[in-house]
Symmetry: C2
Subunit: 215 residues, 2 copies
DNA sequence: GATCGATGTATCGGCACGATACATCGACCT
DNA sequence: AGGTCGATGTATCGTGCCGATACATCGATC
């Protein structure tokens, strides 16, 4: 999930981790902040996969048993997306499978980068998300009416509040879908989001299986 | 977090894991289901800590290299809470620290077992939760008005919806707090929720600070 | 000139998750 | 009689995220 978010942000401009973390918090809706314990491993994976590069050419001073306080410089590390990374991002952003909307967290990230997603894919994702949440709602409704008498007030309140939340989410999604169906000009929206056309690669001949990256 | 939920359920009656999982899904609000990958390790920890016991007296047939398909019986395992477990549960359920409301998941579980929690502790937890969510709301508000112009429609919608959600949660909590402050007899409510004195009074003996509770 | 808070990179242990394997049982179909 | 299918049931594995923490630099304030 972070993979998409990080690539999306770096696709905008290079950054170091600290900045990335702040922007990430914005993207994820403001409340769910990302921790360094997720961010740096994720960057490491992306780097290993060849999707990002760093400056600071491996200035990793090992010395684990020699100089006690480790006075080796630890400069800023700027992460930059590669061509493969941009490719990967475009690929991720154009997928509409269940994983795109079954997980709420991932869905939020997808929504945050909707301007890079084709209009028909946007619609499919929104509708898929609505279906998922509707199913949750029905399950919740059933459970609530089934156990209405047997549970204490607090559990009931919790479920009632949860039900109202999913209900609100369904309505919210419906509004988004409606305004998506009307032209509803999503403001500006860069043209890199070609509609369902495989786009025949505007540039960067995809190079099907060039796994040359593996060292 | 699971620790409390499991102890709480087993405090009701012994169960095996499968049943536990189903009940857990109810307790957690209906939408967040718990997976076996969390449940069984959690039960293992609780067993190691002496909070639960199992029947099936270590019928663990090792044979990892002998009989290929492992035909050893794998019977049902019933988990039962111990005296120490009940003690632990009572302790967990009477704490009102920040960890009780800063994490939304844990708060939900706490709420689900509120009938085992003393009235004054209930109030403290609800108010703490409200403070936490209010802070989130303010942060979100600030971020929204700060970036209103610079972000695309989807991100904005996401943040707006998030803001409305936390706003609704604040109002919901306020209602709970109000009805808690009025007598608002939480239905029946078993007497095991004595502040530290077992069942001093039928209702609302606020029992001033007297921090007798610490062991 | 020292401390303090923001900025900044990075790891560690722990917990929860999804996927999966293994196993039994009743029901319904053939 | 056999078959398979779905619910029940216990359990592990690899992965990913998190909180806490360590280490490090820099600017401002005192």
């Amino acid at each position: 999930m972070l993979e998409l978010a990080i690539l999306g942000l770096l696709n905008g401009s290079p950054m170091h981790g600290y900045e990335l973390r702040k922007q990430l918090a914005q993207v994820l809706g403001g409340l769910r902040s990302i921790s360094y314990g997720s961010l740096y491993p994720a960057l490491k994976r992306l780097h290993a996969a060849g999707y990002v590069t760093t400056d600071e050419p491996d200035r990793r001073t090992p010395l684990p048993a020699d100089a006690p306080p480790l006075t080796g410089r630890r400069g800023k590390v700027v992460y930059t997306i590669t061509a493969e990374g941009k490719e990967r991002f475009a690929e991720l952003v154009s997928q509409a499978g269940p994983e795109a909307y079954d997980d709420g967290g991932l869905f939020g990230v997808r929504l945050a980068f909707f301007r890079h997603t084709a209009a028909d894919v946007r619609l499919r994702i929104l509708e898929g998300r609505r279906r998922t949440v509707e199913r949750q709602r029905e399950g919740l409704r059933a459970s609530l009416s089934r156990t209405r008498e047997r549970l204490d007030r607090y559990t009931l309140e919790l479920q009632r509040h949860g039900l109202e939340s999913v209900d609100r989410e369904v309505r919210w999604l419906s509004e988004l879908i409606d305004s998506e169906r009307q032209g509803a000009d999503p403001p500006a929206s860069d043209p890199s989001a070609g509609t369902s056309r495989p786009a025949a690669a505007p540039r960067t001949t995809p190079g099907p299986s060039t796994d040359r990256s593996r060292s």
